[in-house]
Symmetry: none
Subunit: 215 residues, 4 copies
């Protein structure tokens, strides 16, 4: 069985186009990045969703953002149990090695992972409760958020849970000793954002009012 195949033609052509234009015009900057290493100012925890490109909405160039993307932009609780935790490793590297100044959790509308969690907890997706479901087990991180949902129709509750994913991730982040220390020493600030894909909106979480406000 083939574990690696040639790249589809359309991607080869696009890459060659990029190299002949954007790379060629910015070769000096790419070389600088290769030689001097990265000095990103922010880490972004974003979703894998194909519709959310943080580099687009913030006009970022190469080298600006250290970006971790997982399902539903979740940060798990601090659990130094010796297992491999990809998200925790990314946060540790960003805060301790790269010393980023901002850590932004970016959620979004229509998140399939969040919807899956809602369905699982409300009994509509029993297959996600199975031990062998990686998506189900990953979405356990968000399970506590379902208890806090407001009354309302399903769409309202799911949207609230998307925002809950951001709040829970921020709470979990502050539970990492090196994150807490950096925040206390004012070397790092945390930020929570929720992006409405269809409307092109952006809402910012305010931890004092515990609410999201549109920009």
């Amino acid at each position: 069985m083939r574990t690696a195949r040639p790249l589809p033609d359309y991607l080869v052509r696009r890459f060659q186009g990029w190299k002949a234009t954007q790379y060629a015009e910015n070769r000096s900057w790419y070389r600088n990045l290769a030689e001097e290493g990265q000095h990103p100012r922010a880490m972004i925890v974003s979703c894998c969703d194909s519709r959310v490109h943080v580099t687009s909405i913030f006009g970022a160039d190469s080298g600006e953002f250290f970006i971790h993307r997982n399902i539903a932009n979740l940060v798990p609780p601090y659990t130094p149990d010796g297992d491999h935790h990809g998200t925790s490793a990314a946060v540790e590297y960003a805060v301790r090695t790269l010393k980023v100044s901002h850590l932004i959790v970016l959620g979004h509308s229509g998140c399939g992972g969040v919807r899956g969690c809602y369905d699982m907890v409300t009994g509509q997706a029993p297959e996600l409760e199975e031990k062998t479901s990686f998506v189900g087990r990953w979405m356990e991180i968000l399970r506590p958020g379902v208890a806090d949902l407001p009354e309302g129709d399903e769409a309202t509750r799911v949207r609230a849970l998307e925002k809950g994913a951001i709040r829970i991730s921020l709470q979990n982040l502050i539970g990492f000793p090196f994150v807490r220390e950096a925040v206390e020493q004012e070397r790092l600030t945390l930020h929570g954002l929720w992006h409405d894909i269809g409307a092109g909106g952006l809402e910012i979480y305010d931890d004092e009012s515990e609410s999201f406000t549109p920009l």
Copy 2:
């Protein structure tokens, strides 16, 4: 302690600029994406490194790629132990729910995570061996790759390990039953790429010759 602060002004202004131009000009597409959901054709497993933007080098629009980014673009072995595995969950969601046709592991030059693994295994970074080091524990996935390194100077061996990370991830991927099944049924192809940041190069892994070839 503040767990969420306002967004820096320059990001607010950049977002507003994006909304007034790129969003405004493509509103119909964003609305379509919001209403119809995503139908990405490929999943990319890439590194968090701020210098590697797969959407740039492949000219991707919103909706094309489902992107998971972690340190050193690693996929762990299949381990359905009931714990939360962010990478495995992303792979499962892409293959089983989104039914992507391509799964691309994209490595790169100058990877800090791979370098850390090399230093750890060769005794130059004992702090990464500690149980509490998330980066160290995450890089365990790549430890078997150090045994296979060719003779040579350190730079050569670290570069070989960067490519080893891609090979090991592909091997681990095929160990997931639902990945293997999709590949066998020719619903999915796997691809391994290594990107040279400074030179703007791209090398493709061929599993028959077990080597990387420049595009």
Copy 3:
């Protein structure tokens, strides 16, 4: 005679406002900049004109651009005569010490310095020809540009001279050995831009067609 007076109240108040808001919210980034030093990706040579803020039109945050501003965004010819040359020193520091990847000369409409040069050369401002006129002597750098002006009315010719200032500066830049070397080694690219203040326009110089094209 007082060589230093207290700061006007309105500036004190604005500074205090900045400190309580933008600084307070980004303290971590400012501290990072103070501790890690600057790593700007580009140098900008811009005019002192109060109407041209390159940080606004390019949404730049602190730390992105190393900015030299003088009258008419001029770079003098390479003249290592042991005198102090502020512009040459800034270029040297940016290219040799900071190793910026882009060097952008940004001209603009309605430039008083360029207009003064035109008036001086066409006999309308004899006072600028005097040895003691610093503005006149500085604008000597642009004098060769007047010979190349197209036929036309005065407004057309002055606008052409504004663009000539950008071309001459780029030509002078390439005459600095360390600039030429960096360009040859593809560690640095030069760029010429002309900004129309009233229309909010931006034109880019293309050295092959020797013309400016609107974005």
Copy 4:
């Protein structure tokens, strides 16, 4: 060899964003500025350093400040020798043509130019003593300041020299006949400021006590 290349994409997009928002919302003011010309109330002499944006810390709009930026915010002595002096030309234009009311010299912490001067004078950077070093020759303006430094460790002495650069520039400014005349006629006031990047501080020079006081 290319003396001008296209603008990097991310800057094109950011500019377009600016035009669609900040420019579009203030078009009337930009048109006014273009038609009526600039009437800035103050000239600022600031450093090229990418971390110091006087328009940010003083919340300046387009048209408010005529800004000259050079390495270490230096004003050279009055020397009407017929050579081109960019800084002197900028001061002359601001005071005689624009008739600004305030002239502010803004220094800052962690200044690479000041540090270079200190290293040069104390024998730690002999390459800056070479005739061909533009940075070295430019920093000659500050050489007299090293003689006046207090006893203390290097960090203390370098910081004192940063403030010395402001004092020397103010002394040099008052040596320009048209500056002196404007100050005597109370049409112009001079101001010296030192900005602490990491702490967000601002200290003001008082010429009577010959000391700097935090705001």
